[in-house]
């Protein structure tokens, strides 16, 4: 029933799945809609009265689900708010609310920890990782999605491993190899280390995305005289944009938040925000707790800005397959 309601609201649904005989079974619509294959979506309704499920009273299960979501969110808000409030606190000990509010710890954190440099490094590293991983990953995903060949399984496993293995396991050997070639401790090293899980991540998310694009579309384009460049540039690329955006955003978020690999390969001038935050937390006691929290707030704030910008362009659920909406 819910699905009936859902389908009624959606318009412009693909009519290709509807067998041609379907309209003949419901001849009362034909005079209105005409006998062509382009049946309007209303004709797809199952013969169940469509109800708007938004107005359905919530069941016990519904309450439980919403309760769980609410509990999770309340604790999450409390967790983030404790950090935010403490970063503004003059002093806060054994009370519900700090004794006074001040912003002085932000300027302290900004100056003492050279946050501007850290932010620039973070930005450069993540931009480089996103662009490179898409450039390397998408062609690979295309080949894996469209062809079956000898050794495909092996290659798939090879791309799965860097995602499935914890960064600490391959991070330690990777860091040595990078040190051996004098790459670690610099920005290049951090970018290379972060690419290792990012490229396979793009491949893994883009392969099912490309698989669900009908190969007949490409065949049709070729039939109409398009060459390879035109097939890629004018047919595939527009269809791939949502997937590439989704993959890029996830890579971006992973890179900015990637602690282990950056931690193992970064030198003094190439620490990203999250690593310098960890260092500040680990050496707690040297600095005021509020200054560390101020840094944490700056980190979260920049991540949130990224996320909000990103979510304007992409629906997070488009990660695997595109929604039929």
């Amino acid at each position: 029933m819910r699905l009936g309601g859902r389908r009624r609201k959606s318009s412009g649904v693909s009519t290709a799945q509807l067998p041609a005989g379907r309209t003949a079974e419901r001849p009362e619509y034909d005079p209105v809609r005409g006998p062509s294959g382009r049946t309007p979506s209303e004709n797809l309704d199952p013969p169940i009265p469509a109800k708007d499920f938004r107005r359905r009273p919530l069941t016990v299960g519904g309450w439980l689900v919403w309760g769980a979501v609410a509990f999770f969110l309340v604790n999450l808000v409390g967790l983030v708010a404790s950090v935010v409030v403490n970063s503004f606190a003059v002093t806060w000990f054994d009370t519900w609310w700090p004794s006074g509010l001040t912003a002085q710890y932000y300027s302290m954190a900004w100056q003492e920890m050279a946050l501007l440099d850290v932010l620039v490094v973070t930005l450069q590293v993540s931009a480089a990782v996103v662009v490179l991983s898409v450039l390397i990953g998408v062609p690979t995903a295309y080949a894996l999605a469209r062809r079956t060949f000898f050794g495909k399984r092996l290659i798939t496993v090879l791309f799965l491993l860097p995602i499935l293995l914890p960064p600490m396991t391959y991070g330690i050997p990777l860091a040595t190899v990078l040190y051996k070639f004098d790459l670690a401790g610099s920005m290049t090293g951090v970018i290379i280390a972060n690419l290792v899980p990012s490229v396979p991540f793009v491949v893994l998310t883009m392969t099912p995305f490309i698989e669900q694009i009908d190969p007949k579309i490409e065949a049709a384009a070729r039939m109409c005289g398009a060459n390879t460049a035109a097939v890629f540039g004018r047919v595939l690329a527009p269809l791939l944009v949502p997937g590439i955006l989704a993959a890029s955003i996830l890579v971006l978020v992973r890179t900015v938040g990637m602690f282990e690999l950056t931690f193992l390969t970064a030198g003094p001038g190439s620490q990203t925000l999250v690593v310098s935050l960890y260092e500040a937390m680990f050496s707690a006691g040297i600095r005021a707790q509020q200054a560390v929290d101020a840094m944490a707030v700056i980190y979260t704030g920049s991540m949130l800005v990224l996320l909000v910008i990103a979510l304007r362009f992409v629906n997070p659920t488009q990660l695997v397959t595109r929604l039929k909406e």
Binding site: L3, G4, P46, R54, G61, V65, V69, F72, L73, N75, L79, V80, S82, W96, L135, I136, P139, T140, L144, R147, T148, F149, F150, L158, L161, P162, L164, L165, P166, M168, Y170, I172, P173, T176, V177, I192, L195, P208, E211, Q212, V256, G257, F259, E260, L277, M281, F282, A296, T300, L306, N315, P316, T317, Q318, L319, V320, T321, R322, K324, E325
Partner: protein, 297 residues
Amino acid sequence: MTVTAPERPSLKHRLAERGVDRTLLLLVPGVLFVVLLFAYPVLYGLQLSFQPAEGGSPFANYSTFFSDPYLADTIWTTLRLAIPAALINVLASIPIAYRLRGRFRGKRFLTTILVVPITLGTVLTAEGLKQYLSPVGWFNRILMALGMDEPMRLVPSWTAVLFSLIITGFPFAFLLTLSYLSGIDPTLEQAAATLGADWRRRFRYITLPLLAPGLAITFCLTFVLAFSVFPSAYLVGLPQGETRVMSIAAYEAAFRDGDYPMGSTIAVIMAVVMLVVIALVLAWRSRLYRGATGGKG
């Protein structure tokens, strides 16, 4: 490639029938990358683990690891933390994603809110938990206002690390499950509804089987996230006790003690334990239906 040998035009054709054609050239940069920067360092670490710092038998590091309970027990410590966290994340995201898969007002807002914790990262989550769960933090204050006698000691503890794994892992699991669910063709469920199936039977016989491969992948990915827990185990856990996970042992061996081969050894054992769990899940997944109607992954 021999694909374009001019004197045997049929070879190209025969290879193309087996899926070998110029499209495969697109694989070259990706494969080259993963071999050079992933396979080579891993193999290098592997051979290093057989070269103990003090010399001796190639397996000296491994026998040290398994004979020293302080090191060997980290395997169980890690699994005891990672498996509950991954299971909670996946099992909680199924009903929530199932309920939220339709359209309703504010769906985008709610999805966005649930995505936010991913951006927090483990380091910030640890910082937040430290204050939120502390004896004078808001969590304990609320519990005491509700009638608890004395504050719970939650940081540092095993529970705090589990919380941090749920906070960072659940939204990830939820997002994946929701996208797998959205990928399932709604007409299938409509067909079942037309035949009179109620939502329980639709879920049991239509949605769940199509979703299961996706759930297996979701479990694997959240398990990896939880298994590799490092910063929060240090910051809100008991790094010398209940939450001394393998990554802490590996890190301490390699970077605190400078025994690089031992660090590699622990990293190798860590990878093997992990892959055993993943292989079990994927073996189960390969027995499932994976058709074009969605839920695949």
